[in-house]
Subunit: 235 residues, 2 copies
Amino acid sequence: MNDKSSNISKRRRTARAKDSADYVAKRAEVLGAAATLFKQQGFHSTRLVDVAREAGLDRATIYYYAGSKEELLQDIVGGVLDTAIAAAEELRANDALTGMQRLHQIFVILMTSYEENYPATFVYIQEQMHQVGVQETEWAQLIMKRTRLFDRMLIDFIKEGIEDGDLRSDIPPRLHENALFGMLNWTHRWFVPGGSLTGRQVAETFWSIYTGGALTDAGRANALPSPPVLSAVTG
Amino acid sequence: MNDKSSNISKRRRTARAKDSADYVAKRAEVLGAAATLFKQQGFHSTRLVDVAREAGLDRATIYYYAGSKEELLQDIVGGVLDTAIAAAEELRANDALTGMQRLHQIFVILMTSYEENYPATFVYIQEQMHQVGVQETEWAQLIMKRTRLFDRMLIDFIKEGIEDGDLRSDIPPRLHENALFGMLNWTHRWFVPGGSLTGRQVAETFWSIYTGGALTDAGRANALPSPPVLSAVTG
DNA sequence: GATCCAGTCAACGCCGACGTTGACGTTGAT
DNA sequence: ATCAACGTCAACGTCGGCGTTGACTGGATC
């Protein structure tokens, strides 16, 4: 008579400790299935039984690869922010770049990484990780802190662009940011990798709109009387 | 002995049938409380007990004003689309307007209505009503159909702008739309009525970026050579 | 061919949230 | 005073989904 209780938690821990290629690969598959569904239906609406079906497993088997539904989410979106912050820090440290160049770079890098890590980053955006709404967990707090850090770097790039005289100073940095990265982040609602456009093409197109506008020369002539929009009301 | 069972459903129906000013007002309060929380935490994460506390009521009392949690959501976002579609249809019917003017108008109207109906519209955006994710209910189908209708009208305005030679033809209409309305819709993450900027100011500023770009004249001159500096980071 | 282990599965306990119940004040009309 | 309607509330039934259990299978190792 053996009392070896199976205890899935312990078995998961030992399996993860072994770190075999097979286990890691299968785990990635499970995370991928979860990410797909989280993207499609949202985290809360997604049932673990659906994740299991998507991955071709039984629901209980999920727990052989992840301790909880939360863990799936955290592992999916975990590296997203770190990657972005690392890229921004590298740009900031490069003295040869202007603010505009840094802004352009991070913009393109973000979009291409959205594409590469699809759908992980879009899950991150969709689930509003930056909001308090998530939870009061330590993990959520960390995410929020890192998000604010990244945000501050973007604002700094923009301020640099304004101080250099490249970006319009009649628009507050925050509005510059929300316009530019609004276009970018909204891609989570419509962009699908493998479609007619690459992430890079989308990014460059949006960048050209942000910097130069969407009008033709003729259209610009038609629209000529364009007073500074904010000073009229704020001043 | 009377068998008058209280049956909250019937009592709600009779109360709603009477349509007294008090009832309507209180119901609006409940909807407002629900909208606030839906906006903050998302529909699924919001508990009816929280809605009740926000409205200063007992949870059961909610059912005197709404038959279900779903009904709260539907009534909150119900008019949003209809208003937008009506505005777009009016613009379309006005022969005196060019495509660019229609696009500009609907852009400003949408933003100001976001502000006026806050937070209802933002709930609509946040809950991704256009996605299949919601449900297979008849209501969801209708919402999706109406959304596609509105979307088609926006695309038509943009195509008109391109055909008139005002908007750049090297950018597909869909990208024009996603850039412009990406900026707009992303406001649901940061815009708060009563802040330093009105909805109209935000809309006009974004419009000026979309049409003319965010660069100064000097910045435009600097950007002309447009050195490809991406290799500094990626390579 | 016996033993062991990775991987899987049907089944259970549990909990939290929705929607309902039936009764309890309170108000205003008769 | 009586009655009806209004608005409210503590308490319950129910159900869906999470996380766990303990046993089963098929292949590898001795």
